[in-house]
């Protein structure tokens, strides 16, 4: 274990450094030199850059200090009965279950994986000693990026590693369910890797849920690599306990003619950040990043995206919609960067915010940085409340005010939900939105 050249002063980093030193050989993969060297290297970076304050541009609207102040426990084993997970499982899917951050094969449904689909837990992949099974790990995420990327690499403990072979189309969706047990206050560093081979096709969903109240912290990094012509759909459903903390990062590299679709439904956690950093790396690469955040009380939800059009003839589109009740706070920071040679780029982003309460607060910062001259780019943001005229129209047809309001909020989200492919994920997400709507309180307050 190497130590940093400079003395550590940031108390948060000191704490993590001590934690890293103390865990030592308990960390998976510690018996393999390349893993330890990856972790050591990341520790050096983390020590150098620290964790971001709000003075860092990409963290301007999200304050990490409440997470630093909170006390977290070590991971504890906990029993979960299979039926407890039923509400969170997709129909007819290949399911990997992680309880408090640890893969639990007994709760998973991974029998009869189709040919060409490989699944391993990160810890098992480390333990196997077969370096090839982790090929790509650490290749996409930038350690220097302000946030938890470096610390996640230092402390990564488990997660899903999913590999789709060239020319393989996986029919069933693959679902990773990360479940926190009741009263869990653990700090989890989860790391996923999804590699979609040349001309492959698959759908991967990650669900973050809590069984009862928990106050844990999940730091999640997912690296995604799409080979030429690959088609990968990725769905995140973050519905953790409203007292939990969630910082997620998806780092993706999209190859030539490949298509990456991401959808994020975020309604849980006291503070949640869903960050996507993506590089369109080959001509014809295409991505669509959509998301819905549903927040209430004092919840804070930050959707931050960064799309790098590194090469010509690529397309990106982003629509993020936020519904805010009570004193909730949302952030949308969308950045599209078009490189000097990335001609014929087609990039669009839009953020819409629906405020159900006058005490809610939405920050929106769409940003285009364009260095090429032959491009089609657009961006925009709107903030508004419910259309009073439409509410009156619905009520004048006998519909009670609460149902009318729910119809209108659902309609706001419907544009994105209805664009989803008609598989088992769509009703899953529609149900999640509907059950959130049942608990809206602020109708009078907003009027």
């Amino acid at each position: 274990m190497t130590s940093s050249v400079q003395p550590l002063t940031d108390p948060v980093i000191v704490k993590y450094h001590e934690q890293y030193a103390a865990l030592g050989t308990q960390l998976p993969g510690s018996e393999q030199g390349w893993v330890t060297s990856l972790r050591d290297q990341a520790m050096l970076v983390a020590a150098r850059i620290g964790l971001p304050t709000r003075r860092v541009e990409t963290w301007k609207y999200t304050d990490l200090r409440p997470i630093h102040r909170a006390e977290f426990s070590a991971v504890v084993a906990s029993d979960v009965a299979a039926p407890q997970l039923d509400p969170y499982k997709l129909d007819d899917a290949l399911i990997a279950v992680f309880v408090n951050g640890c893969f639990v094969p007994a709760l998973s449904q991974l029998e009869n994986l189709p040919e060409g689909l490989e699944f391993l837990s990160l810890a098992d992949a480390f333990a196997s000693g077969v370096k090839e099974s982790l090929e790509g790990l650490g290749d996409v995420v930038e350690l220097e990026q302000p946030g938890y990327a470096a610390l996640n690499t230092v402390l990564m403990q488990d997660g899903g590693v999913c590999r789709i072979a060239d020319n393989v189309s996986v029919e069933k969706p693959v679902q990773f369910i990360f479940v926190s047990t009741e009263n869990s206050s653990a700090e989890l560093h989860l790391r996923n890797l999804i590699v979609a081979g040349v001309n492959s096709k698959a759908t991967v969903m990650q669900s973050f849920v809590s069984l009862g109240a928990s106050s844990g912290f999940s730091d999640v990094v997912t690296e995604v690599i799409l080979g030429q012509g690959a088609n990968l759909r990725h769905v995140t459903h973050q519905d953790q306990s409203a007292t939990a903390w969630h910082i997620g990062l998806i780092a993706a590299r999209v190859g030539r003619d490949a298509q990456f679709d991401s959808f994020v439904l975020s309604s849980g956690a006291r503070l949640a950040r869903n960050e996507i950093r993506l590089r369109l790396d080959g001509e014809g690469a295409d991505c669509s990043l959509n998301g819905i955040a549903l927040v209430r009380d004092r919840q804070h939800c930050d959707n931050t995206t960064d799309v790098d059009h590194a090469i010509s003839h690529c397309h990106s589109s982003q629509i993020y919609k936020n519904v805010l009740d009570n004193r909730a706070h949302t952030v949308f920071q969308g950045r599209v960067h078009v490189a000097p040679d990335a001609q014929k780029t087609d990039a669009h982003q839009m953020n819409r915010n629906l405020l159900l309460s006058r005490n809610a607060h939405a920050d929106s910062k769409p940003e285009l940085i364009i260095h090429a001259d032959d491009v089609k780019c657009s961006h925009g943001a709107t903030v508004g409340d419910l259309d009073q005229e439409a509410l009156f129209y619905l009520q004048s047809r006998g519909i009670d005010p609460e149902t009318a309001r729910n119809m209108m909020v659902h309609a706001f989200a419907a544009e994105l939900l209805e664009a989803l492919p008609e598989d088992s994920i769509r009703p899953y997400l529609e149900n999640a939105v509907s059950s959130w709507l049942e608990n809206i309180v602020s109708v009078e307050e907003a009027a």
């Binding site: 439409a390 129209y393 004048s396 047809r397 006998g398 009670d400 149902t403 119809m407 989200a413």
Partner: protein, 252 residues
């Protein structure tokens, strides 16, 4: 059935209705005509309970109930229906689920059983057909992408489904070509029954050739200025509101 007495109402603090008196009996069709700005639409919104239209004096008794004490959706449940002058587009709300939610809300209010999905579909298709309305329109969100005439037909479709006991038509004829006007009038006439009444608000006599009223009232400066039968509408058409000493503010 409907009894409006000395109704005063303000909009944004400005008094628009200044003592309206109106009695509508069961089965009667009343027309309200009047120059622009006379308070015709305000009266329709006050009847339906729109927020921002404040009643400062007077009363509205409807089937022995104080209408002013009821919420918007309760008035609809009691059988009051407003066909809007400018029906609103509601992106994201499907027409079919809107119509079904509406019909079932009203059925529940009346203590009736909800309609099954199959029966509902049959009912909507048959009603749309009778109004010569393309039922493909109903695959769209509420009023989204509808032409002016299609929006008005959609209002009459909703009226036919909900079978109100008091239909208030707010300038339903505006912007309609003759075919659409006839279809809308046929829809309204089909609903005529001894226990159902209608209040037809219009600026022109044209619609009243198809929906023949029992009484015609002229609303001016927030009050009923004249009452007569269908002949009054024809005279107004010929001589203009000036015959009553009123100025039509609309540039004709």
């Amino acid at each position: 059935m409907l009894s409006i007495k000395n109704l005063h109402a303000t909009v944004h603090g400005k008094e628009i209705l200044r003592g309206v008196d109106l009695e509508i009996g069961a089965g009667e069709v009343h027309a309200i005509m009047g120059p622009n700005g006379s308070g015709k639409s305000t009266l329709s919104y006050v009847l339906s309970g729109r927020e921002g239209y404040d009643v400062t004096d007077g009363e509205i008794i409807y089937n022995d109930k104080n209408l002013l004490e009821l919420d918007v959706h309760e008035r609809a449940g009691e059988g009051v229906f407003l066909a809007f002058q400018y029906p609103v587009e509601i992106p994201g709300v499907s027409s079919m689920s809107f119509l079904r939610t509406s019909l079932n809300s009203i059925r529940r209010y009346r203590g009736e059983e909800e309609i099954s999905a199959v029966d509902f579909l049959k009912l909507v298709r048959a009603t749309a057909k009778s109004l010569e309305m393309d039922d493909k329109l109903l695959q769209r969100p509420v009023n989204v992408g509808f032409s002016g005439g299609e929006k008005k037909r959609n209002e009459v479709l909703q009226m036919s489904l909900l079978e109100p006991s008091l239909a208030v038509l707010d300038e339903t004829d505006s912007g309609l070509d003759i075919d659409a006007l006839k279809a809308v009038a046929d829809g309204v006439n089909a609903l005529r029954a001894p226990d159902r009444s209608a209040l037809v608000i219009t600026h022109y006599q044209r619609l009243l050739s198809y929906i023949v009223p029992d009484f015609v009232h002229v609303l001016a400066q927030g009050k009923i200025a004249a009452t007569g039968d269908k002949e009054l509408a024809l005279e107004l058409e010929k001589n203009g509101y000036a015959m009553l000493g009123l100025e039509d503010t609309e540039a004709a």
